[in-house]
Amino acid sequence: MSSGSAPGAVLVVDDDRINRLLLTRSLEADGHEVATAENGRVALELLEGNLPDVILLDILMPELDGFAVLDQVKGDPRLRDIPVIMISALDELDSVVRCIEAGAEDYLPKPFNPTLLRARINAGLMKRRLGQVERERVRDVFARFLPETVVDEVMRDTNGEPRLGGVRLVGTVLFSDLRGFTTFAEKTPPDVVVDVLNHYFSEMSDAILDNGGTLLGFLGDGILAVFGAPIASDDHADRALTTARQMLYERLPRFNAWARSELGDDADFRMGIGVCSGPFMSGNVGSARRLEYTAIGDPVNTAARLQDLTKELGCPVLVSDSTRELLQGGESGLEFVEDHDVRGKKERVMLWTLGLTTR
């Protein structure tokens, strides 16, 4: 028997053993994988494990009926995209209407008609697959700037929408710049420039995303990243410092080694990094056609200025005192540089740098 479309996983929920047997045999004959539950409570237990592609749900059942199961499924972000098809006797149409209003996809009348059963299941599977394709698309959008570990949480929070609403959080901003690159770019063929820049950005993006940072963007040869947004975390300052350390002392030497092998022995790039913590707003901004995730607030401006100051003060990284104060871990490896007037700040800022030898 051919089902007319790719088979899927179906959960059959019915207190009547004959119906369960009948639907199982019929669906299995079409190649579907079938799990069964004899009441709503058992169904919800099963739904804590692997998810089916379609649920066939009887209305009248002991312990927990079809209405209650439907409510729970549609109220659970993890389950709500699974199409639910109600099983009903022809004289239960009022109940069916109530279920469809509550989010059920369709209904299957008893006694079962094989053609109708197949059509309903295939339509449900098709809907499920389209939903999954859309979900993957949204996931890809988020995965471009969010660490893998945060993507699922954000997907839950945004209900599958490819847009993050504005939030105000305390986090850490990291701003980095590749020194000498503009001069290098001016005397180098464009294809080589782009190749070198992409290699550099790959190294540095990995350092940021691997440490749970959110990549806000590349500006020329600069990189802007935040830690602790869009999902709040306590250890954002620690993770930002770990990232800065890896960028400077692991990723940059590796990038330079690659650059020397490609461009010759005098290729030697340097970096400047500014790190500042505090409250900022973040969210998706832009137009419907071009959307970016961005951060706005004082720590963003200060991190950019600290990055700039690294040239003047001769340290590859400058960390504001606000970041040092928010560190959760013990020995940070920070060394005091000086109190400094930072443009836009009323008070002098205590500045720190990362020692090469510690941690």
Partner: protein
């Protein structure tokens, strides 16, 4: 309403279209058909016992549920007279009045006894 279960002549026969639909659903594998028939034949006495208990206790909801399940399964196997009697009891119980349910329950027992040989014959392939 009472003419619904005065189909004495048909009580022993199964609706051929329903039997055809059943085979379309589960396929022609004799073992699977036997599984289905066995499950039904085992299940009916349990539902009948629930029905009797419900009637004795005045539990209309239990009677309604048992009659509802029986009705659905009867239709699946094409035992139409049995299904009609169950539908009658389900509707009576739905209103919550069980006073007149005795004769309908007796009709259910009678139509089941009449339909049972034909249903069991499905498992041995005698009626196909």
């Amino acid at each position: 309403m009472s003419e619904a279960y005065e189909t004495d002549g048909n009580a022993a026969a199964l609706d051929p279209q329903a039997v055809e639909t059943l085979k379309e659903l589960i396929g022609d594998d004799p073992e699977i058909i036997r599984d289905m028939v066995d499950a039904f034949v085992e299940d009916v006495p349990d539902r009948l016992a629930e029905m009797t208990r419900g009637l004795a206790d005045g539990d209309a909801e239990l009677v309604r549920r048992a009659a509802h399940t029986l009705k659905g399964n009867c239709l699946t196997f094409g035992a139409l007279a049995f299904a009609d009697a169950c539908r009658e009891l389900e509707e009576t119980a739905k209103v919550g009045v069980l006073d007149d349910a005795g004769p309908i329950a007796a009709e259910i027992e009678r139509t089941w006894a009449a339909a049972r040989p034909a249903i069991e014959a499905l498992a041995t392939g005698a009626s196909s």
